[in-house]
């Protein structure tokens, strides 16, 4: 046939909990299997998690301002995504973060003190507890995506019934490794879920300068698997969509791409000054759409969540965070020789010599300090 339509695609938007805290439960039932439901306990749990990770974040910013933490990347405004993902993941699943997933990592079981260590420039902050198969933070944007693909491939090969989640920002979608990784996942139909936290900024670059595509979700079309845009400030929508995608992956039905539309409410990192490149109005607009505010309204309306509940929760969270900060600040100094000791399984001779040289320098320094 000379002229015909070969393929048609649509990109869908998904939201359950709107900005006023109203839940469209008509959408809920088709997403849950008959035996499933979302309980009050779960939803309240989402809120508690959000309070926890936001408080962690606020504390991190404070510590940084006081010079007690290094450069830090705030997650403020992106809590719904991180809580939704954490709830949807099983502990046997593998998770590959970018660097703006502190909340998700905490909820996966990474101790808060460990994260504070990481952001203070302590390599021990990258050590993920054995209980979880989560990768450490990798700084080069987007380059961890193929690792997630490789882990998914290995899981498939080993017939492990797990799924892999990789998260990244809107900026990451411009990197070659995003493309190559997603393409591999499509070709080999791997059990992996790609989740873009589209917070609409990559440092000073707005998403409109990152791509001419009107959604990021539509990028999945290039790789032959489903892509969807979700309201990233709606924890219930994120949870359900991610959960379904992970289940799909575990069932062997291949990858899914999820764009979560959200907003970076703070500076890129504590080293950045966002007022140089974006307007107050834009930020205010998105503060209105805050994921926590919305869920709290829902809780208030539906479950009589009260100020006293809120205060009790906040107190408990504050206590946990204080403990974490204390733990973090009472950690002893790291061993500089780790530079060598975690480089290879067996250190070759030339490096043993360099190690000895470092040891000598350290001892000399200690000597000097003693006098």
């Amino acid at each position: 046939m000379p002229k015909r339509i070969l393929e048609e695609f649509k990109v869908e938007w998904f939201q359950l909990l709107d900005e006023c805290g109203t839940l469209d439960s008509s959408l809920l039932s088709p997403l849950l299997s008959p035996s499933e439901s979302i309980t009050k306990k779960e939803i309240q749990g989402f809120y508690e998690s959000m309070v926890l990770i936001r408080s962690f974040d606020e504390k991190a910013l404070k510590l940084q301002r006081m010079g007690r933490l290094g450069t830090y990347a705030s997650i403020c405004g992106q809590e719904a995504i991180q809580v939704g993902c954490a709830a949807a993941l099983r502990s046997s699943d593998w998770f590959f973060p970018a660097f703006r997933e502190s909340g998700l990592s905490i909820l996966r079981g990474l101790p808060m003190k460990t994260l504070y260590q990481y952001w203070s420039g302590d390599e021990r902050g990258s050590v993920v507890p054995e209980a979880h198969n989560d990768f450490p933070i990798a700084i080069p944007v987007g380059t961890h995506i193929p690792h997630a693909v490789g882990a998914a491939w290995a899981a498939l090969y080993k017939k492990d019934k797990i799924a892999v989640l990789a998260t990244f920002g809107d900026g990451a979608t411009s990197k070659g490794d995003f493309h190559e990784g997603l393409n591999f996942a499509g070709v080999f139909s791997l059990p992996v879920v790609f989740l873009c936290q589209n917070n609409q900024w990559a440092i000073s670059i707005p998403v409109s300068r990152q791509t001419a595509a009107s959604t990021i979700a539509q990028k999945a079309i290039a790789y032959g698997f489903p892509g969807i845009q979700v309201d990233g400030n709606d924890v219930i929508a994120v949870y359900l969509v991610v959960k379904q995608a992970l289940e799909r992956a575990r069932r062997g039905e291949g990858p899914t791409f999820i764009e979560c539309l959200t907003y970076r409410l703070n500076d890129h990192t504590t080293a950045d000054d966002a007022s140089r490149y974006r307007s107050e109005e834009e930020v205010t607009l998105w503060q209105e759409k805050d994921p926590m505010r919305r869920l709290r309204r829902y809780l208030e309306k539906t479950y009589d969540w009260s100020t006293s509940h809120e205060e009790a929760l906040q107190q408990e969270v504050n206590a946990r965070i204080s403990t974490a900060v204390e733990e973090y600040e009472s950690v002893g100094p790291d061993d500089p020789l780790q530079m060598f000791d975690s480089l290879f399984e067996t250190l070759p001779k030339d490096l043993l010599e360099q190690r000895a040289e470092l040891k000598r320098r350290i001892e000399k320094e200690q000597e000097g300090a003693r006098h």
């Binding site: 290094g70 450069t71 660097f99 203070s120 420039g121 302590d122 390599e123 902050g125 990258s126 990798a138 700084i139 080069p140 944007v141 987007g142 380059t143 900026g171 990451a172 411009s174 990197k175 070659g176 490794d177 990559a202 440092i203 000073s204 670059i205 300068r209 990152q210 791509t211 080293a271 950045d272 140089r276 490149y277 100094p333 790291d334 500089p336 780790q338 530079m339 060598f340 480089l343 030339d350 490096l351 360099q354 470092l358 320098r361 350290i362």
Partner: protein, 325 residues
């Protein structure tokens, strides 16, 4: 003359050349409104507009690749890579294309491209923000590699790089972006590429270094001079092409060489310099050459980084070693 730090000197050189050369454009991540994460391009977008100072998507390979296409078409692109550690993503474009376009086309197409990147450690930055793998580019035929060590040097070397008809990797030591201020001439200064600078003179040893490491080297030399030991200090400025003549002349005089760089020891640029000395000035050597360099490990995260970089103490030890041999 104004007292500027290195990042201001870079900024001034960019302003100067953008004014003179309508074919010059700047591209990179956050180079526009934000003025670059170190502010090296601060204000340029306001003066020269969005078509000449262009914020790009997060794509290092395309930044270099499109800059190559622009250069071949007749522009003079300056590509900023946010940190040297992100240049690896553009390695294929640099090695296979920027470095080869002139040869491949037998001169029909050329690549007058300057790639600027902050490099080196010591600023307590996250992982991969402290790279100094200049040796990769020195080992790549067809590229020039330039590293300034002070604000005035930065201005003069950058202006020459911007006028160079071939691709230049211009590495800016982020540790000294703001650490030093010096008088920088307001007018145009061109420091020719390929010529090292003799920073201090002495006849007991030759200290060879570049970039941020010049400063602990100067400190070490001052301390040694207080003990009556005087050394030549060579700031290489350009790592490719390398100014061997200046090195050999000095080593022939002093008979002792200490090479200082923060990059990993093995196969660093120091190896090339040591090899050349041992080939060309062997008979002058009265002591083995000593390289003071980073360890052959990655640069650790900030808490341990000071253990990685060699400093004044190691340089003094090295000078003492070549003197006492």
């Amino acid at each position: 003359m104004s007292k500027l730090n290195l990042v201001q000197a870079v900024n001034q050189a960019l302003f100067h050349e953008m004014d003179l050369n309508p074919n010059m454009v700047i591209i990179g991540e956050d180079v526009g409104q934000d003025g670059g994460v170190f502010r090296a391009t601060d204000g340029l977008i306001h003066k020269f507009g969005e078509s000449r100072v262009v914020d790009t998507p997060l794509s290092e390979s395309a930044i270099i690749g499109t800059a190559i296409g622009m250069a071949a078409y007749g522009l003079n692109p300056v590509a900023e890579i946010q940190f040297m550690g992100f240049l690896y993503g553009a390695m294929e474009q640099l090695v296979c294309h920027a470095a080869r376009l002139r040869t491949r086309s037998r001169g029909r197409y050329t690549c007058p491209l300057v790639v600027r990147a902050p490099y080196g450690g010591g600023i307590h930055a996250p992982e991969l923000h402290s790279e100094s793998t200049e040796a990769f580019f020195v080992h790549t035929p067809g590229l020039k590699v330039v590293v300034p060590s002070t604000p005035a040097e930065a201005k003069g070397l950058l202006l020459s790089s911007l006028r160079d008809p071939d691709p230049v990797i211009f590495l800016e030591p982020s540790k000294i972006y703001r650490a030093i201020k010096e008088e920088v001439p307001d007018e145009e200064v061109l420091i020719p590429l390929g010529q090292a600078r003799l920073v201090a003179e002495g006849d007991q040893a030759t200290l060879i270094t570049w970039g941020a490491m010049l400063h602990p080297t100067l400190r070490a030399a001052t301390i040694m001079s207080e003990q009556g030991v005087y050394t030549d200090i060579i700031d290489l400025r350009t790592l490719s092409p390398l100014d061997s003549d200046t090195i050999m002349k000095s080593v022939e005089k002093t008979g002792r060489a200490v090479i200082i760089h923060e990059a990993a020891l093995t196969c660093g640029v120091g190896a090339e310099i040591a090899a050349q000395i041992s080939e060309k000035a062997l008979l002058s050597l009265v002591s083995p050459i000593v390289r003071v360099a980073g360890f052959d490990t990655g640069v650790p995260l900030p808490k341990l980084e000071r253990y990685y970089f060699p400093g004044c103490d190691q340089i003094i030890e090295a000078i003492q070693k070549v003197l006492s041999f």
